[in-house]
Symmetry: C2
């Protein structure tokens, strides 16, 4: 997606081998105009899949999920909550998410009643690297017997295995920008395929 | 604001003396149509104050801040991050927020560069009870010498002191709904003043 790609190249910072810092427009300060363009791009990609709900995980996924849900005709958003431990509560469904960055396992959870069986779900998140967060969100959907119609990502780290694994498993995945690597502090983007 | 008031009465739950549970439409599952109506209501209230940035705190404030920023012409959003401890970093500005609910003090922080001196800031948050979170956000603005043009709240607990204290200190505060109390599990709303 051209507007996001341009912003990444203009304002993003590559740190070390694998950190893509975009918190000046995406996940600390939010460029609201860009955000709603991104929501429109996901809506255009997934509209035919007839999603009924957008699922994400707090905190930085929320803004993007809201923008996508708005562009899809104001369908509801549910955001999973994070916690360090398993919460003992029969009203909740939970899934583990391992963070390679922080070397810890967190749990994500939602209230079961907000993800009814058969709901057509679009998963949205800001980053896709190892794919742990997306797998955790998919796990919540499987447990609830919801239908995953697609996964929309802002920035995929193409040099990490999450995106490839999802595509090979048949998931309809749309990453608005794919970073192929970081060279001397410069972010290298994969050419657009469409 | 009529749509929010109606939703609170229809779907909200009062628990005990002071818990207003609205996570079925506001802060776990989000009713996206209502969210954008709320954004419009805040924009109508504060447009003449010419806000240049919407400031909130993760996680549940983010959706509301995005909706308000969109209605104000896609001005940027900055969301403060929470942590249990002080982060040692000269690029950050931090403020304490005491939680009466959890009986702990957290820190909230933002990167200084995203809140430049003189910026006209609209603060948005989901709840106002004791006012600690809003005071923390105002504290960040004071430290950065930003201009607080107003505070927009979804649900104010009118039986707790935060709203009264802010109004008495001259802050332009707009709460879209004010809960006066909980009686036998029923949420009692204050009549609208306009």
């Amino acid at each position: 997606m051209e507007a996001l790609r341009r912003m990444i190249l203009e304002k993003g910072k590559g740190i070390g081998n694998d950190i893509v810092k975009v918190d000046m427009f995406l996940n600390h300060r939010i460029d609201t105009a860009l955000l709603f363009e991104m929501g429109q791009a996901w809506a255009d990609e997934f509209r035919e899949e007839k999603p009924e709900l957008v699922l994400t995980v707090e905190a930085s996924g929320i803004a993007m999920a809201v923008a996508a849900a708005h562009a899809l005709g104001d369908i509801p958003v549910v955001f999973a909550k994070k916690s360090a431990t398993v919460v003992q509560n029969d009203d909740m469904v939970q899934a583990p998410v391992y963070s390679f960055t922080h070397k810890i396992q967190n749990m994500i959870r939602i209230e079961k009643q907000y993800l009814p069986e058969g709901t057509r779900v679009l998963i949205i998140d800001d980053f896709l690297a190892d794919g742990q967060a997306v797998r955790g969100l998919m796990n919540l959907c499987w447990q609830q017997q919801a239908v995953i119609v697609g996964v929309g990502i802002a920035i995929e780290k193409g040099f990490q295995p999450g995106g490839k694994a999802l595509r090979e498993s048949g998931v309809h995945l749309k990453s608005l920008a794919v970073v192929d690597g970081i060279q001397d502090g410069n972010i290298v983007l994969r050419p657009e395929d469409d």
